[in-house]
């Protein structure tokens, strides 16, 4: 069984460290697009969470089971109808928002099923991305490792875009962490941050 300590996990996926720091001991967590289950595995070991992942890929189903993580095979695009309202303390969507077609529906579903949501995504407003576009090319980087013709990212956005979206969709942002690599960015985050993580809930 693989176990991650906090620092090695953060090295693999910087947003995981922020997500983990927000989730309290013993919380219930639904991880949408959970991949191989490493975030849930970490949260189970370090936080004692009761967790479930949702994954579409056959290969990841096997890996999640090997990792000792509960996983439900399903397609996020068809919603979260298999999950009850307010079933989880946190619903997490890490580095997947930008690849969803039905972004608006999924954000509403996250806040139906979870009492709070956590979302991370690559910041399209990061200066390196802007520079690429300024030079006349779509950005290809560690955070956006695809060519324009094979990218699954159909809904890229900047921090400003996401915050405006939340404002317009009754999503109340509780906390934000912006990072480049594994260091936190406080100054000019929409320009200097490559990844953003948000914690939010329904507007009262």
């Amino acid at each position: 069984m693989s176990t991650h300590d906090h620092s090695s996990l953060a090295a693999i996926r910087p947003d995981f460290a922020a997500i983990a720091s927000w989730i309290p001991q013993g919380a219930s967590v639904l991880d949408l697009g959970c991949g191989d289950g490493s975030l849930l595995r970490y949260l189970q070991d370090a936080r004692g969470v009761r967790g479930y992942g949702v994954e579409i890929s056959d290969l990841n189903i096997v890996t999640c089971i090997q990792n000792g993580v509960n996983v439900i095979q399903g397609d996020l695009e068809s919603g979260l109808s298999g999950f009850e309202t307010d079933a989880f303390d946190y619903v997490v969507l890490s580095q997947t928002l930008q690849a969803m077609r039905n972004t608006e529906d999924l954000m509403q579903e996250i806040l139906r099923v979870g009492r709070a949501g956590i979302v991370s995504f690559p910041n399209f407003g990061y200066w390196k991305n802007r520079l690429c576009v300024l030079r006349g090319n779509m950005p290809v980087s560690e955070d956006l490792p695809y060519q324009w013709y094979d990218t699954p990212n159909v809904h890229l956005c900047t921090l400003h875009d996401f915050e405006a979206f939340c404002h317009g969709h009754k999503v109340h942002i509780l906390e934000r962490r912006v990072m480049t690599g594994d260091s936190e960015v406080r100054l000019l985050p929409n320009l200097l941050g490559s990844t953003a993580v948000y914690r939010f809930k329904r507007e009262a």
Partner: protein, 352 residues
């Protein structure tokens, strides 16, 4: 109702010192105790789930002690309608009581008692076998750590019951049925039984699988304009029907289909499956197959939803396969990888 009964079972692998590595395999409609391997004097008689169970296989009998049994009411050695009723010296026939999934679990628990197994590492099965595995988690929550329900449903749909009833009617209306006491007349309701099996078989396959395998292929290559066998699919179905009718007992078929129809753990909870699973404590693996229209993925997802409601550990896989309901018996790389991974996880929980 029955003063006593026999259960025939087979075991594979060795029970460990603290008896924590036992796996019970429950069979479906036409299954039996011969789950894996073959007999020294009958090498062609390979167990019905031999692809899944054996040394080095997904359910590794070098690690697990696997038990297969023939359910009560069966026709492969356990007491059933074709067994001799000691009180009369004649086969039970129609007087053999109707048994339910709950009864089976009860009798399986008695078998576990005999073998000194207090808690199964896993109880598993496909289709009707999956229903027994689910029932284990409700009847004996403390006696099963993992439940694997494959190609299963929380209860049969009206369409499913309808198929079963047509199958039963084929048997019940066969002139050789004699109200279930055909043994005394020295006959077998072969026509009814083979029709029942032909119908069942259609529903276990997918439209695509049948199209792939047979299409509209003709046996003789040309149309004969008669009611003889012309299309390959007709030949296949009749062969399957004849084969089945030559060894399976019609009363057992009736009994098994009724057990399927009756299974409905939510019934006593106002049809609330969430409440039905409130007693369960096991960890679950639920698997369905994309082309299974008899026990469709939606039915498995309903089970998962109830397990999630009760905050139970559950994983769910939807296996892409074109073999319909029968997929659960087939060799399939991903399906077997999932099973292998899950059983490796179970094996990590006990010491050899």
């Amino acid at each position: 109702m029955l003063p006593h009964y026999d259960l025939v079972y087979e075991t594979y692998g060795a029970l460990n010192a603290d008896k924590s590595n036992a796996v019970l395999v429950c069979h479906a409609l036409s299954g039996h105790h011969h789950v894996a391997g073959y007999y020294a004097d009958d090498p062609k008689n390979v167990g019905w789930w031999d692809t899944m169970i054996g040394p080095g296989k997904p359910i590794d009998t070098d690690k697990f002690f696997v038990i297969g049994l023939n359910n009560l009411g069966g026709c492969h050695g356990s007491s059933g309608p074709s067994s001799i009723n000691p009180a009369t010296g004649k086969p039970y026939g129609a007087s053999f009581p109707v048994v339910t999934v709950e009864d089976w679990v009860e009798s399986q628990a008695r078998l576990a008692d005999r073998l000194g197994i207090k808690q199964f590492a896993a109880v598993m099965g496909g289709s009707l076998g999956g229903m027994q595995a689910l029932q284990w988690s409700l009847s004996y929550p403390a006696r099963v750590r993992h439940v694997l329900a494959i190609a299963c449903a929380p209860h049969l749909s009206a369409q499913n019951i309808a198929f079963n009833d047509v199958a039963r009617n084929a048997i019940l209306t066969d002139p050789d049925f004699h109200g279930g006491n055909y043994y005394e007349h020295g006959v077998v309701p072969t026509r009814g039984l083979r029709l029942a099996r032909m119908l069942g078989h259609i529903t276990y396959l997918s439209d695509d699988a049948m199209a792939d395998k047979f299409g509209r292929a003709l046996r003789s290559g040309k149309l004969g304009y008669s009611y003889d066998i012309e299309f390959e699919i007709e030949s296949y179905l009749r062969y399957q029907g004849d084969k089945f009718a030559s060894y399976f007992d019609a009363n057992t078929y009736l009994l098994m289909t009724k057990a399927l129809d009756y299974f409905d753990p939510a019934r006593e909870y106002n049809d609330d499956l969430n409440r039905a699973f409130a007693a369960a404590r096991a960890n679950f693996l639920v698997l369905s197959f994309t082309t299974d229209w008899r026990f469709s993925p939606e039915r498995s997802r309903a089970i998962v939803k109830a397990l999630l409601h009760n905050r139970l550990n559950v994983s769910y896989g939807e296996i892409t396969s074109n073999h319909g309901h029968d997929s659960f018996l087939m060799q399939h790389e991903h399906y077997h990888a999932v099973m292998r991974a899950y059983f490796a996880r179970i094996a990590g929980e006990f010491s050899a």
